[in-house]
Amino acid sequence: MSYHINDNGYYGDFGGAFIPEMLHPNIEKLRQNYLQIMSDSEFQKEFKQLLRDYVGRPSPLYYASRLSKKYNTKIYLKREDLNHTGAHKINNTVGQILLAQRLGKTRIIAETGAGQHGVATATVCALMGIECIIYMGEIDIKRQAPNVARMKMLGAKVIPAMSGSRTLKDATNEAMRDWINNPLDTHYIVGSVVGPHPYPDMVARFQSIVSEEIQWQLKDQEGTTKPDYVIACVGGGSNAAGAFYHYLEDTSVQLIAVEAAGKGIHSGESAATSILGKEGIIHGSKTLLMQTKDGQITEPYSISAGLDYPGVGPMHAHLYKSGRAEFMSITDDEAMKAGLALSQLEGIIPAIETSHSLAIFDHKKFKNDDIIVINLSGRGDKDLQNYIDYFKL
């Protein structure tokens, strides 16, 4: 069984491009060109150079000795929090802005949840001098205020999404509407491995730099390119896709995807898509999503804006259904505690999204010689107020 995309744009049963005709020209142009553009050597050169000189790659693979000691196993943190703008999201936006330029686009739109993708998009737009519009749920605008401020500093226009749950899902709807209304000059920089084909594959390829680096970094430090486990949180699934990518076909490496259980999986306030979801269509792709019996998309909940999404990317739906990856879910409380623990054990304040991955050690035992790589997808600066309020610091 393959875990990569097939020629029709599917991962197993999931994927495809369920899009309104209005988006057809844009999506089709992307589909026809993305692989060729991305494999062009000039593109690769420019991409790699920006990743190095602008983003600050390679991000370190840091052996967390105090955390390892606490759980009596070997834990490496892949430090995407050290990237410019503070999360893995920028790997993708750097790639897509170069692609957008080659497609002749002069206006960029994006959706954002935690604001990290919005900031990463506003950043590359500033870098290239391109107009930038960011859609963000009204609730998320409130709970991720620092990132809203950053987008404004970077010259982007932030438009609140006022419908539905006023979070990531609704921001995505608004971005798609914008694209429908501005098909010629605009490129939509989707922020995760979601949306119609070729987005999931394209974003996964841009993020695959993460596991590409893990391979040689682990080789340097442990003498093997293969960890026993790779662990990542899943909102849409881009940081997980990046961390899993080069290990997808090698089943000796166990993959663990961590979702947000919010106030508890069965509390009615959660975003644990794989467990609670059913197959369906959201934002242009067939995947797992949380929905009513009637096919209405459910409003998810998580304390973490970046995981507060009712779907997962089609790659992850496939990894779940096929059993290739283990899916776990972590509540708000567990995540917050794990975030504080990492801060005080290793001096790294993680994004609340990432804190979900860090919380699994209280649920799952590992052997003392297991090599575990956790994708530390982002830093917690954007979440400080939430942490402070939560812990009454």
Partner: protein, 257 residues
């Protein structure tokens, strides 16, 4: 013969009206349909409300949210329409996003439509290639016409392809926009209308998006076979309620139709 095809054979310019089922009130569906037929509308698109109608603008989006809050479901809609053919004879099309249909079961959905007497479907997020490979057979087995869209950005080649695979009419989106965004037609649209007319397609075209009064209706149907009004009608329902539908239709068709 399918009622849509029949209606397309008449030589009048067709007025088709979209409304969101379950809006303004859950039980308005049937009254609205009857009222529309009574006042001269030629075809109706019954919108199945969806939580995330990404091809629609704020008006239809809001009406969908309200309809869902009112309790509208696929099941209830079918119940409401159960006896519709006892009183209504113009073509009825269900317009809805694909996920609720998928959850209902595509085959079950089509069967239900056939039993009720629905003539066609418009599913904005079911692209033609997926329809062709996975669903055409089912739709056709139940006598349903699936309507496809073209836009000003659709390439000539793709228009030909859509035309070749369409069985009733082509839904011609007047401009690149979600519903309700346009305010009137300018040069760009006029030349687009002409360009499509000049292609002499097999399927007649019905123009949608941005039609809100007699002038835009006339512009739209100057060369096309008909026009679809959505947002403007939903807005009318919001402000005027369902009792003055005649007034709305009259302003569209002009006083002396």
């Amino acid at each position: 013969m399918n009622r849509i095809k029949q209606q397309l054979l008449t030589d009048k310019k067709l007025l088709s009206i979209y409304f969101t089922a379950g809006y303004p009130n859950l039980e308005d569906t049937v009254s609205i349909i009857k009222s529309l037929e009574r006042h001269g509308v030629d075809m109706i698109e019954i919108g199945m409300p969806f939580s995330d109608p990404l091809a629609d603008g704020p008006t239809i989006q809001d009406s969908s949210t309200k309809a869902l809050q009112n309790g509208m479901t696929t099941e209830i809609l079918f119940e409401q329409l159960q006896a519709i053919r006892q009183s209504v004879s113009i073509p009825l099309i269900i317009m809805g996003y694909f996920n609720p249909i998928l959850q209902y079961g595509v085959e079950a959905f089509c069967e239900k439509c056939q039993n009720i007497g629905i003539d066609g479907l418009i599913i904005p997020d079911l692209p033609m290639d997926i329809y062709e490979s996975d669903y055409r057979q089912i739709f056709e087995a139940h006598g349903l016409i699936n309507v496809f869209l073209i836009t000003p950005q659709t390439s000539e080649e793709r228009i030909q392809y859509i035309d070749a695979n369409s069985k009733g009419f082509i839904y011609m989106v007047s401009s690149a926009s979600t519903t309700g965004v346009q305010v009137g037609f300018g040069d760009e649209q006029t030349s687009y209308f002409k360009r499509i007319a000049d292609m002499n397609l097999n399927n007649p075209q019905i123009v949608g998006f941005g039609i809100s009064n007699n002038m835009t209706f006339k512009q739209a149907t100057n060369q096309a076979k008909g026009a679809i009004i959505g947002s403007a009608f939903v807005k009318h329902l919001t402000t005027e309620g369902i009792d003055s539908i005649d007034k709305f239709i009259n302003t569209i068709l002009g006083e002396c139709h």
